[in-house]
């Protein structure tokens, strides 16, 4: 509708007919025109958008999101088209649209559910708002710049035991290797045998029993563990790149979860790309124990992506990444392949006093050779290309433990 044309025509008619009452019509039309433009231009400025949701979720969870749109103005908003951008991985289609009306100082809520089907760090928004007047004279579009994020943790496969031994004499995870006994973990008393050190004699109990008794100590290992996750895109088979890298992240998350459950310090070092930092610098999280540390680690694992720009090979990077780790720390290298360079790098770590373990995540027919090479160089190698490969660490608690 061309109101300006109508106003000019009415004015011309006024001049022709000297009809003063037409001024009233001109005022009304002009008022509608000006108000429509002002209203439409002002509406986006008085809108406030807020998302209410849980910003962290586990894989498979359903996260309800409430998009609250509030009109802070005194004038109502006759129509508002809301177009919320959501990640396709969590919601199909990748938008949520609705047309609503907002009363004066009122609010409206748009609700949708995110299906956390894939780990990652996702953006919610921006939300595009279109509005206009009642007469089709003006429309306005605005993009609410606020973008929120949701972190979907990677899948965690519960492990019941892990055949990882340590070179440290103190720890919290029981082992049947009676190489080390923890002096603070007394499990009972036994009769003195020739050769038992004198400080092991329990004098009070001996006096009570009238015979020499020595303390019986539990055997433990300490697993200060650093997970080395290789996410250098070039080292993955192009055909299996996506699946294998995702699987590597799942394995890393599962191991970290298991060790944290055993109250062991776990760290993470990866050459993947964190979209939050965006600079492609390798990430290092020194071994720490506790749930807080696990959450940090899982957040990194949720965000991390294959690094296409990484130029330093894993074998070279592993040495630099582990340089500050303490003596005896277990280094679990999760990598797509167990080639000669990787094995040599882990061997060097072994020689530097670390306890290296190789986990290969890409299906490989040459794994036998890798295993043989690793055994020769003095560290264990595991092929964990499929979920069933994790069964060796998922045996029931009472079943005999696999020991290297």
């Amino acid at each position: 509708m061309d109101i300006s044309f109508l106003i000019i025509l009415l004015f011309a008619l006024f001049i022709l007919l000297r009809l003063e009452f037409l001024f009233y019509i001109i005022y009304v039309l002009f008022g509608v025109w000006v108000l429509a433009r002002w209203w439409a231009a002002r509406a986006p400025r008085v809108l406030r958008v807020e998302r209410v949701y849980t910003d962290h979720a586990f894989l498979g969870e359903r996260v309800p999101v409430r998009l609250q749109i509030r009109n802070r103005g005194r004038l109502p908003i006759p129509w508002l088209r809301v177009n919320e951008s959501v990640p396709l991985e969590l919601h199909v289609p990748n938008f949520v649209r609705r047309v609503v009306t907002l009363p004066s100082r009122g609010s409206v809520a748009l609700e949708y559910v995110l299906e956390c089907r894939q780990r990652g760090y996702y953006s919610l928004g921006p939300v595009n708002l279109n509005t206009g007047d009642l007469f089709g004279l003006a429309e306005a579009q605005v993009q609410e710049p606020r973008v929120d994020h949701i972190t979907v943790y990677p899948r965690i496969i519960p492990l019941s035991r892990l055949s990882i031994s340590s070179q440290l004499p103190f720890g919290a995870v029981r082992t049947r290797q009676r190489l080390f006994e923890d002096p603070i973990r007394m499990i009972g008393l036994r009769d003195y045998e020739a050769g038992d050190p004198l400080h092991r004699i329990h004098w009070k109990a001996s006096a009570h029993a009238g015979d020499l008794l020595v303390t019986k100590l539990d055997s433990v290992i300490s697993l200060e563990t650093a997970i080395l996750l290789n996410l250098r895109a070039e080292e993955y088979d192009p055909q299996q790149r996506i699946n294998a890298s995702e699987w590597a992240i799942v394995v890393a998350a599962s191991i970290a979860h298991y060790l944290t459950g055993k109250r062991q310090p776990v760290g993470l070092f990866t050459n993947g790309r964190d979209p939050l930092s965006g600079d492609g610098v390798p990430i290092g999280l020194p071994p720490r124990s506790g749930q807080e540390s696990l959450v940090k680690l899982l957040e990194i694992l949720a965000r991390i992506e294959l690094n296409q720009q990484a130029v330093v090979p894993f074998a070279m990077w592993a040495r630099e990444a582990t340089i500050r780790l303490g003596w005896g720390t277990t280094v679990i290298a999760i990598t797509p392949k167990g080639d000669e360079d990787t094995c040599q790098a882990l061997h060097r770590l072994q020689q530097a006093g670390l306890n290296a373990i190789l986990i290969v995540v890409e299906p490989s027919l040459q794994f036998r050779e890798t295993e043989r090479r690793a055994r020769y160089l003095g560290f264990p190698a595991h092929l964990v290309a499929w979920e069933k490969d994790l069964d060796i660490w998922r045996v029931p608690e009472n079943a005999p433990q696999l020991v290297r």
């Binding site: 008619l13 000297r18 009233y24 019509i25 009304v28 509608v32 009306t101 009642l134």
Partner: protein, 553 residues
């Protein structure tokens, strides 16, 4: 499929919100009746009393009938009736009704003679009134049908409502569905144009109705402008405001189709509140517009004058009360005198200013001036917008250049004026008679707290200079601080260190740019205090010596 399911599907495939509303049919009927009112008013201006109050209600009925029939035919079950024969029958019946109304208006019913005349001369059946009524009946029927059909076509069709889930299975997409139906924007544009030209026609009729044809005073035809009848004023207002509401509804239809095609769910409140919001907006604007000038006087001005008058009346009453109270007070004070004076004439109350009792009258030209200012602004703005929408951009560079030149010109002359003012001030200051050769500056209170560090240091040094002048060591204007320092040290050798330090502090404060801290000001103050206490001590000593010598003498 059960009957319940069938009913549900039927409900879902009907745009019930759009089709069932009575707002649009009523508005269309009103609009067309208003249009007819314009023609009736013209007829009444030519022949006063024409229509006898029957014509307009008849056209309103015709309009309602046309609107209802259009809606009834729009139903899918009445598809077979949408034929030329049906429309012809409808029009025939309406024309017949119009002929009966013509009998009412003329007040002569057919009798034998009239029937015989119709037989002899069939054209006599169509007298002027009948022809005019038929013309208007056809106009009202056509306009109502066209407007209502346009609005009805703007609603969502069953295939648009229901087919989306079925489209992929049928290998179709929305574009095919869209192609089947007319563009709602085009329909809205057509409706708007129709309303616009109808409005202009109504305005033209209103203009014509004001002209009275009076052949008199030897002229062939005399023209006399009359005021608009309230009916016509109401018709104009209802037509334009109602039309805007219908345009607003049309815009809603365009938006609904757009949202439907892109699959955006719509809150039902959007449609429900739309009409009320439109009515509210137009009511507010209509009310404000009624206060604006559209003649030599206007309601707002009259209201303003009324408010001012009321306020002045209140002030007048208050003043009257005050004077009365004052008079009473004075009478109490002079009570005794009043008793003595006995029958002296009563005190005449002070006359109230004459202007207080009069109301305020805005000048006659004010209404007209505001009107033309407003109208000029509106027309200019509309013209610019109209041209802009058609790609004609006004070149404002010349205006900007002119504005910049005006600003430069203004600032130049302002600077000149300031320079002249300063110069005049200087001349006046120089010519001011000096007392004792010293220019007396007005006394000013100096707050040390308001001074910055440099200012404070300078203050303490100048205080020392003033004291020194009082004690016979004045500073010559040509003396540098160091030269003066030498003189002071010669006069007060006990204060050599203080004078040197204070002079150096002054030089730092006056001639350097490096940062000075508060401690510098504090140090200068300490130095000045020492100088002052020394001078006081010396003064006391001198006065003691003088007293001793006086006692001795």
């Amino acid at each position: 499929m059960t009957s319940e399911a069938t009913t549900k599907q039927e409900v879902e495939t009907q745009d019930s919100i759009w089709l069932k509303g009575i707002f649009r049919p009523i508005m269309v009927a009103l609009l067309v009746t208003c249009l007819a009112a314009g023609f009736v008013a013209v007829a009444q201006s030519a022949s006063p009393g024409w229509g006898r109050g029957i014509a307009l209600p008849f056209f309103a009925l015709v309009s309602v009938e046309s609107v209802y029939t259009t809606l009834w035919l729009a139903s899918s079950t009445q598809r077979d009736r949408r034929t030329t024969r049906f429309y012809a029958g409808e029009v025939f019946l309406l024309l017949l009704a119009a002929r009966i109304v013509a009998f009412f208006i003329k007040g002569e019913w057919p009798n034998g003679a009239i029937l015989a005349q119709w037989l002899r001369s069939p054209l006599s059946f169509l007298d002027g009134t009948t022809t005019f009524l038929w013309f208007l009946t056809l106009l009202v029927w056509g306009e109502s049908t066209l407007m209502m059909r346009t609005l009805e076509r703007m609603g969502l069709k069953p295939d648009e409502l229901a087919m989306k889930p079925l489209l992929p299975a049928r290998g179709m997409d929305w574009n095919e569905v869209r192609a089947r139906h007319p563009s709602r924007s085009a329909l809205l544009a057509r409706f708007s144009a129709h309303w616009l030209w109808g409005g202009l026609l109504l305005a033209f009729c209103a203009g014509l109705s004001r002209v009275e044809l009076t052949p008199s005073s030897g002229q062939l035809m005399g023209l006399r402008h009359l005021g608009l009848t309230p009916l016509l004023q109401a018709a104009l207002v209802i037509y334009f405001l109602g039309g805007l509401l219908l345009v607003s509804q049309g815009h809603l239809a365009v938006l609904r189709v757009r949202w439907r095609y892109e699959g955006t769910p719509t809150d039902p409140n959007v449609v429900r509140r739309w009409g009320w919001l439109g009515v509210g907006v137009l009511a507010v604007i209509g009310l404000i517009a009624a206060l604006l000038p559209f003649g030599s006087s206007f309601i707002l001005a009259r209201a303003l004058v009324a408010v001012i008058n009321v306020m002045m009346q209140i002030a007048y009453v208050a003043l009257l009360l005050l004077f009365t109270l004052f008079g009473l007070l004075v009478s109490f004070i002079h009570f005794g005198q009043t008793a003595e004076q006995g029958g002296r004439a009563e005190r005449i109350p002070p006359p109230v200013p004459e202007t207080m009792s009069k109301g305020v009258h805005l000048p006659d030209w004010l209404g007209g001036a505001i009107l033309w200012l407003l109208m000029g602004g509106i027309i200019l703005y509309s013209l610019i917008a109209y041209l802009n929408e058609r790609g004609v951009r006004l070149d404002v560079r010349h205006l900007r250049r002119l504005w910049a030149w005006l600003q430069t010109w203004w600032s130049f002359w302002r600077r000149r004026a300031e320079q002249v003012g300063r110069r005049v001030g200087e001349i006046l200051t120089l010519r001011r008679p000096a007392q004792g050769g010293i220019i007396q500056t007005p006394w000013r209170f100096l707050s040390l707290r308001r001074l910055d560090t440099r200012g404070r240091v300078r203050y303490f040094y100048l205080a020392m200079v003033r004291r020194a002048s009082e004690h016979g060591l004045p500073r010559h204007p040509a003396e540098t601080p160091h030269e003066y320092e030498g003189n002071l040290e010669a006069g007060w050798p006990e204060l050599e260190a203080e004078i040197t330090s204070l002079t150096q502090a002054f030089i730092d404060a006056r001639y350097t740019t490096h940062e000075l801290g508060p401690e510098d000001a504090k140090r200068a103050q300490e130095l000045w205090k020492r100088v002052r206490s020394f001078l006081r001590q010396r003064d006391r000593q001198d006065s003691g010596d003088r007293a001793d010598s006086q006692t001795a003498s």
